[in-house]
Amino acid sequence: MSVEDISVADATDRARVDRLRAAIHMILITVGPVIAALALGGLILIALNVNPLEYYAYTLRRGLFSPTGLQATLTRMGPLLLIAASLIVAFRAGIWNLGGDGQFLLGAVIVAASAPLMTAFMPVWLVLALCMVMGAALGALWSVVPALLRAYHGVNEIITTLMMSFLGVSLANVLVKLAFLDPSTTTPQTRTLPVDDRLPRLFGTTTSSGLIIGLVTIIIVHLMMTRTAFGLKLRVVGANAKAAVHAGLHVPLLTVAVFAISAALTGLAGAVDILGTQGNVRADWNPAYSLMVVPLVFLARFNGFGTIAFVFLFSVLSIGGESAARKLGVPNYFSLVVVAILLIVFGLTEYLEQRRQTIARK
């Protein structure tokens, strides 16, 4: 800190230059790793005897630059954004809710089982609204055990949520095969919600309005965590639980609230995926979105807007990657490999960045 007097104009000038430099720096350490990760992924593709340029070009064409691909990408973003919102609430509050897959599937199954039956005696908008509430409620319900164990007995929630997730995925399958089976088909699946009764599409495209639900939710969650007293309390608990006790916050109650909100959002994601895209749940269906979104949320450092960008990138890669897989024989999950490399490169960048700062301080 300089103690000497500097004129106000100088100060503002310097502040502006500093801000600009900080912005450029920010872009460099955000975009740089993405390019590096794509390059490293390219090396792996070369090892697989696939031309990386061809793969990336095809992926981009099918995921981003073709109308149907882009619409599929945007539709896929809806549930992913809701899951990301769920994770942001949990992670910022220091709760590692990794049981999203179970919460997602249970929300999806209950909606897939009820929606086609409810349409018989209810207007569509009411069915959609009720189904979303049901999905959220079931997701939240599935987090009660880990929440109480964590809040009142300090049991590590990573273990309990993962365990509950296995149970939840299995239970969802059992429900599809035994309880909610569609009698009119031979494949084991639930009844199918007619396309007309699904979430409305946007502007005459095939993009589901689930995208809007996801975008609105994640922005609300971001603002809640960064701008409200409630969000600040959750962040205090997450950053330093002892300080939260010292400050008089009711840590167990807040912990339960975090679990409820987080799991409800994941359950909602399941509901939106069914109501907007899938229409039914086939037996043994498990897209495992929730664990895929975890690295994206980390990459964005729990920032809602950053997460939107990463979810978009990931959706492009995964939609395009699915087509590229069929065309070029690269496994479907190669998009996950790219995300994993990206995560590692970001980790390295952060490490180097911190070293640079400590050296600069000295």
Partner: protein, 521 residues
Amino acid sequence: MASSSAPRVAAAGPVVSLRNVTKRFPGVVANDRVTIDIMPGEVHVLLGENGAGKSTLVGMLSGLQKPDEGEIVIDGMPVDISSPRQALDLGIGTVFQHSMLVPSLSLVDNFALGGAWWRRPDREGLARRIGEQATSIGIRIDPFALAGDLSLGEQQQVEIVRALMRGTRCLILDEATAMLTPRDAEQLGELMRRLVKRGIAIVFITHKLNEALAYGDRISVLRLGRNAGALGPEALAAADNHDAMAEVVRMMFGSAASEHTRGERRPLPAASELRTVLEATNLSVDDKSVPLSAISFAVGAGEIFGIAGIDGNGQKQLAEVLAGQRPIAGGQIALNGADIGRMTVGERRNRGLRYVTDDRLGEGTVAAFPVSTNLLLKQIGDVRFWTRGLERPAAIADHARKHVSEYDVRTPGIETPVGKLSGGNIQKVVLARELSGSAEAVIFSKPTYGLDVQNIRTSRRRIQEAADFGRAVLLISTDLEEILELADRIAVISQGKLVGTIANDSEARQKVGEMMSGIAQ
């Protein structure tokens, strides 16, 4: 493994000598030209208050820290002890207050831990050698018992055996009796006497004077990092116990006449005329390490009530139960006559009870959060700064700027994460948060712990001012100088009980010293 053949007293010279050793930490001189000779066949007791520099001395002998100046001489040769392993190789073994054994492993496996990783430990042979070593010093150990099943006293015996098996000639027992039951402490004392008969040198660090006199051959006293005096074997043998104790207390706490440095205070009305603000009646708290029982005191408006005592005697528990961070087991806490013993932290704060914690970064602040947020950490959701739960950035920033300038917090900005500030400035942030607004009673827990001289002075001035504004101040501190400087009345806490309350007059130093050392009850 120079084990069963006990080292003989070869030469009369010291085993280990410290010569003018100085060790500095940022802002403090922990050891200032300390000179001590450790003779074979003697129990050398090291006495001193918290912060007198004993731990630093042990740290340098056991290879955890290196002296800045001066030298450590072993067998007449200056040595450089750069690691704990090297200290062991030089024959210096340390047994710390807390057990260093792995509780889930058997003793044999604990002993085998330092061995080469590719070699299968010879458990039978090792067990035999442990048994022999233990028998030779007159204790019994089952080498296949789990370390965690042993009492603390037994674990220490095991660690002594381990140190001897590694060829230790100079054994350091760092506050070894602090956690022991009286019976275990007595056994340890007897063991020490047996060991020195075999020519081993023992450095015994304790707070308890009666132990020092019962087991020690020689006593050195440290005070504020310097040699404050020593009693040799002749002097100890000649003086009767009571004289020796008085002499040691004088060395430890300074002479009453020369150093009584109580600040300028306005005269307080007699205790009976003060309006009682904070009162504890027969308070008790359950705790695994130090339960509190039968704690009663009253602090009046404008009074500073000091609680002195050696660290770890229930200070933390007392502060936390008063602030509402831990449940009360019995008794009452009253603030301005109203029972607050079962209220939440927030309700107590609203009634004017404030708590300045000693754990500034651990619980007092959230390191990664900005200064502005930390200043409001206990008021999240307050309508002045959050409208219907939505933050008002301008109000929060105004509040922060006001407090930063009022309390002279040196920070690059109010958005700077508090963890980036120095300890003194973090303390200022905490003080600003706790002392502003309508405080009625303030609990200070070790308010100057770990601060530099400048910030110690600032913090003490704030404590003084709080009392001058008519607040009831409870000053819990392990620094006796601080209590003597600030307090109107002084109580001593020992093993979860208050062992007496006295006025801070000219004899306070002697009396408190005696109560802290376990002489007077």
